[in-house]
Amino acid sequence: MSTVTFRIFRFDPERDATGRYQDYQLALEPGITLLNCLNKIKWEQDATLTFRMSCGSAICGSCAMRVNGHSLLACKTQASPLVKDGVIQIDPLGNANIIRDLAVDLEPFWASIRKVKPWLMPDSADNPEKERLQTPEQYLKIDNSTTCIMCAACWSDCNALEVNKKFVGPAALAKAQRFIHDTRDAKRVERLEEISEANGVWNCTHCGECSTRCPTEAKPLGRIEEIREAAMAAGVHDNNGARHVLGFRETVGKRGLLDENYVPVRSVGFFNIPALLDLLPVGIRMFIRRKNPPVIPHSIEKVEEVRKIFSRFEELRKE
């Protein structure tokens, strides 16, 4: 058995001015999970070490934490592959305030879930004595998102949240997908409209961290894409995100090139003067750093090829 250093973040806002790391040494038994290591440390070395756990079997979502910089579930993770140069570093979840050590305040996370009205809104006429029918295929459309265990691992590592605390976040979006694609729900379009508003589904930057960190099949980025597709298909276009996509399609599809000046303007809307003014500083900064796109868009060599791909794609989409 090799002895490993557990470098664990300690912080009690009621007493400490700043956080610090504390090292614990533990001999790793073969096959031991990270949660069992933490429990051994707590039970045998330092009872004041604080973290959450409950089921111990990867279903309750309590034991999410950051290990070597990324979030995971401690109970379902084998410890030995996590060792880097003899050390496993453990921090509390990101994008959250710390209550004590590894326990963070989850209220903003729960609030974000509540924002998407996460309950079925069936047709009021639909008051069955028996079950409503749903095909196995229809069920499979919500199968992934319903595996979410609300562990907030995705929330912790989301890049969009890091810069914008108002972003509803990946777990809430995965939850929203579950109702948008549930054939028993009657508020699909209303849901799509709400979720397409600012700080909703279009604020995700597509970094994919949420899906990488997600310990279940909920994999939020995939669900986000499903919502976006549904919104475009349902004609929910009156928002920045959808306009961005349409702008993209117009410039690439029609002109075979990406007009980087057109897309942002199209996104906020041509007549949305305040939003256009908001864009101005960004434009100026880009100009100063010489990162602005050329005023006259590049033309590309194989314009025809691009157009062909695009129209074929449009055809496929219609089918």
């Binding site: 009621e14 096959g31 999970t33 707590k42 039970w43 045998e44 330092d46 009872a47 004041t48 604080t50 973290f51 959450r52 756990m53 409950s54 089921c55 111990g56 079997s57 990867a58 279903i59 309750c60 979502g61 309590s62 379902k76 993770t77 084998q78 209550i99 004590r100 050590d101 326990a103 989850l106 729960w110 879930i113 509540r114 009205k117 996460p118 309950w119 079925l120 069936p122 069955p128 004595e129 028996k130 079950e131 409503r132 029918l133 749903q134 095909t135 196995p136 069920y139 919500i142 199968d143 319903t146 595996t147 265990i149 609300m150 579950r178 109702f179 549930d182 028993r184 729900d185 099949e217």
Partner: protein, 572 residues
């Protein structure tokens, strides 16, 4: 002091279902030591029973009732069983109405599969995360009622307040801050779940430490049938983590070291789909007689390989991942090591068919106090619960509790509560724990308790060994008085919570052993090698354990309600 008309402690299936029945009409609060979605109900995998006849037209409420009575080895109260099985289809349709994502049949109805001890495929399921799907659906409904329902998450109930036979509320602590408060209520429901954590090998969450039953017991309420702890046949070797019975429902085999499907010896007709007590004992017999697998010959194998990749990944994905992540076995290519694991608590707080708690064996009630779900003993499961009947129990009796409380709360005046006295008592308990002589190590005491319970009060029981267990528990209780709680802080003190939980385990374990020692017969999950047969003449009765003034206990018995089915020998 906080006041609510109704206080529900526990936010699993039973607690949340009850809350939905009450919200809107009364001021309702739900308290939970975790967050609602983290309650242990979420861990249930296999399914929830109801005679919907979606897969086999022949199924009926009557068949379900009979299977349950027989499965419980005739210790279940038959009137209660009948209520549960008759309400079952309604309970499921209602959950479907709330949006529960059930797996579907080719006819687009709720899918159903076979489960041990059930004579028809009647387990409604959502892949192999049925409890998760149901719990999250109820959580969603509680968010829908957000403004009206107060949820106190991460609050720890410390004491139940009962005075002169009337329940007045609880004392609880905000885990995040350590602040203690009296929760004053006209009616209180306990839905605090099971007590399997007192065992070393267990499928139960760390949180399943019997807080509710112990609080009730300390407040003078007897506990019923505590000796009946169910073992589940397929716990992941050394972890106890559950591999759902759905694995066998879908056709998984059990094999011993010789590669033999040993169930042919014990339940030739039902094979792997015999009820849990029988399958667990069969496994233990194989292990005890030297046909176990592995270097220590202490486990058997669950073989899924013949089901094929597609079926395993589609119907049993959670099982596949559990085996892979926790012990590194790929169920597609290798059989999975398993052993019996402590799983379900048939005993608990005695209650009638409307979940009103009894204060004695004669049928007198504690006014304003209700219990539902796994912490209760309405005795629908008798001596052995059939798989998928307990989610059903939680849904059916959660709803019934809510309905009854709706009326009862209106009829119940506010009884005064002495806030200072109750808070002082709770503070004193905590203070004592924090300021012991600190000679004893908590982890050691807990480990010794758990090993004792698994080894000496496990699948097979024998008088002599249980006497030793009894002595050991008494010793551990004494040592606990000097236990060390190093963390002295107020905020998020999980060390203190663990100490409180251990005090519960030490208290109720004694009752498990007491009930088991006194019950000189074998019935359902309670299998004594020194009394191998069922003895209806003397023990067709519920055990009631009362706390006496000296701090010890006293056992009394209460007759079983038999309505339609006369006890007969169980054969599968």
């Amino acid at each position: 002091m906080f006041s609510h008309d109704v206080l529900i402690v526990g936010s699993g299936l039973a607690g949340l279902r009850a809350a939905l029945e009450l919200v809107g009409s009364l001021d309702v609060a739900v308290m939970t030591k975790v967050y609602p979605s983290r309650s242990h109900s979420g861990a249930a995998q296999g399914g929830v029973a109801a005679a919907l006849s979606n897969v086999d037209k022949e199924d009926s409420v009557e068949a379900h009732t009979f299977d349950t009575v027989k499965g419980g080895d005739y210790l279940g109260d038959q009137d209660a069983v009948e209520i549960m099985c008759s309400d079952a289809p309604h309970a499921i349709f209602e959950m479907e109405k709330f949006g529960c994502p059930f797996s579907r049949t080719d006819e687009n109805k709720i899918a159903q599969r076979a489960f041990g001890g059930h004579s028809f495929p009647r387990a409604c399921y959502a892949a192999d995360r049925t409890g998760h799907a149901l719990l999250h659906t109820l959580f969603e409904q509680s968010m829908k009622n957000g403004g009206k329902l107060h949820i106190y998450s991460e609050w720890y109930m410390l004491r139940l307040i009962v005075e002169d036979g009337v329940c007045r509320g609880v004392v609880a602590m905000d885990i995040k801050t350590g602040r203690m408060e009296v929760f004053h209520a006209r009616t209180v429901l306990f839905a605090t779940g099971g007590y399997g954590r007192a065992f070393k090998i267990t499928s139960n969450a760390y949180a399943n430490t019997g807080d509710g039953i112990t609080a009730a017991y300390r407040a003078g309420i007897p506990l019923m049938d505590m000796e009946f702890v169910q073992y589940h046949p397929t716990g992941l070797y050394q972890h106890g983590i559950l591999l759902s019975e759905a694995a066998r429902g879908e056709g998984g085999y059990l094999l011993n070291a010789d590669g033999e499907r040993f169930m042919s010896k014990y339940a030739p007709k039902k094979m792997e789909l015999g009820p849990r007590d029988i399958v667990s004992r069969s496994e233990q017999t194989e292990i005890n007689e030297g046909r176990g697998t592995g270097p220590k010959k202490d486990y058997v194998l669950l073989d899924l390989r013949h089901l094929g990749r597609e079926k395993i990944l589609e119907r049993l994905p959670q099982i596949y991942h559990l085996a892979k992540d926790f012990i590194g076995v790929d169920a597609l290519t290798d059989p999975v090591p398993i052993q019996p694991t402590a799983h379900y608590s048939m005993g608990g707080i005695p209650a009638d068919n409307d979940c009103q708690v009894y204060m004695d064996e004669k049928g007198n009630h504690v006014r304003g106090f209700f219990a539902a779900g796994e912490c209760s003993c309405i005795s629908v499961h008798g001596a052995n619960r059939l798989g998928t009947n307990s989610l059903l129990d939680a849904l059916v009796f959660g709803r019934r509790a809510g309905k009854k409380m709706l009326q009862a709360t209106h009829d119940t005046p506010w009884s005064p509560v002495n806030e200072k006295r109750e808070l002082d008592a709770a503070r004193r308990d905590v203070h004592e724990l924090l300021h012991t002589s600190a000679r004893e190590d908590m982890n050691t005491i807990r480990e010794e308790l758990k090993t004792t319970m698994t080894n000496q009060v496990g699948v097979y029981r024998i008088g002599e060994e249980m006497e030793k267990a009894n002595g050991k528990i008494k010793e551990l209780q004494a040592r606990f008085k000097d236990v060390r709680v190093d963390d002295k802080r107020e905020n998020f003190n999980t060390n203190l919570i663990e100490a409180l939980e251990l005090s519960h385990m030490l208290e109720y374990s004694e009752l498990i052993v007491a009930g088991a020692l006194a019950r000189k017969e074998s019935r359902g999950a309670h299998a004594r090698t020194d009394f191998p047969t069922r003895d209806d003449e003397n023990f067709l009765a519920h055990t009631m354990a009362f706390k006496n003034k000296e701090g010890g206990y006293e056992l009394r018995y209460k007759p079983v309600k038999i309505t339609r089915f006369k006890p007969e020998e169980r054969k599968y």
